[in-house]
Symmetry: C2
Subunit: 137 residues, 2 copies
């Protein structure tokens, strides 16, 4: 069985999907990714699908599943590199990739993740970790 490599770059895990995904490969990828998120403490997962000519419902479900798993492990998932034809086909098939964020390329995906982390930090900083409601007396 082929395994999709997971590359760590700073605070981000990068996965470039190039092979046809079977059930086994998809499950292995989910398990590997979950383990790597926990082991590294990364806060972002970028999945590059430049090499994919087709995103069918199986791949769509796999991406949703990875995004959900990452979310409960406090990591955000961004899918990057979608081809124009793939986007058109997705809409025609009625697949909307619910709950999955997308970006044009890896760099923009990294910016998106960094911006969200900064935003979270800022909110916590402004509100304080145990902020009390600012009701007037």
């Amino acid at each position: 069985m082929e395994r999709v490599p997971i590359l760590k770059i700073g605070d981000i895990l990068l996965v470039s999907i190039q092979v046809d995904m079977s059930d086994q490969t998809a499950v292995a990828l989910q398990e590997d990714l979950a383990e790597r998120i926990v082991a590294t403490g990364c806060h972002g997962v970028i999945i590059d699908i430049t090499a994919l000519d087709i995103v069918d419902s199986f791949v769509g479900r796999m991406l949703s599943s990875i995004a959900s798993i990452s979310r409960v492990l406090d990591a955000e998932t961004v899918v990057v590199g979608m081809r124009p034809a793939v986007a058109i086909t997705l809409v025609e098939l009625g697949l909307s990739l619910n709950g999955i964020r997308t970006a044009l390329n890896v760099e923009r995906g990294m910016e998106l993740i960094a911006a969200n982390r900064y935003h979270d930090d800022l909110d916590e900083f402004l509100d304080g970790p145990d902020a009390e409601p600012t009701a007037s007396p």
Copy 2:
């Protein structure tokens, strides 16, 4: 024919080889990579071979060829993610990957490229772009 995707991250082009390389795929990758180096002006190429179980003489030649092409385009190539078994087999086969730099993972590869660029910049800064020999009169 499958094409290996090339991802741009900052000043670096990242290639993750996951499929078996045929002659055609190898030639296409070299052409794509040369074009992307010229188009983006990147100074580093990182080739990840985590997914490869075997590096034979064909793949070895391809890596050498990519490194040579990149070098004349002012980009440095670093091969990362080599498995222990692959390293052992390479030595047993007598393939030494001449002229190819290696690093343990993508992050270390990026550090290596950044350090070399800095070193080059520093040399130029110290010597000056048109430094003359400091012979005493």
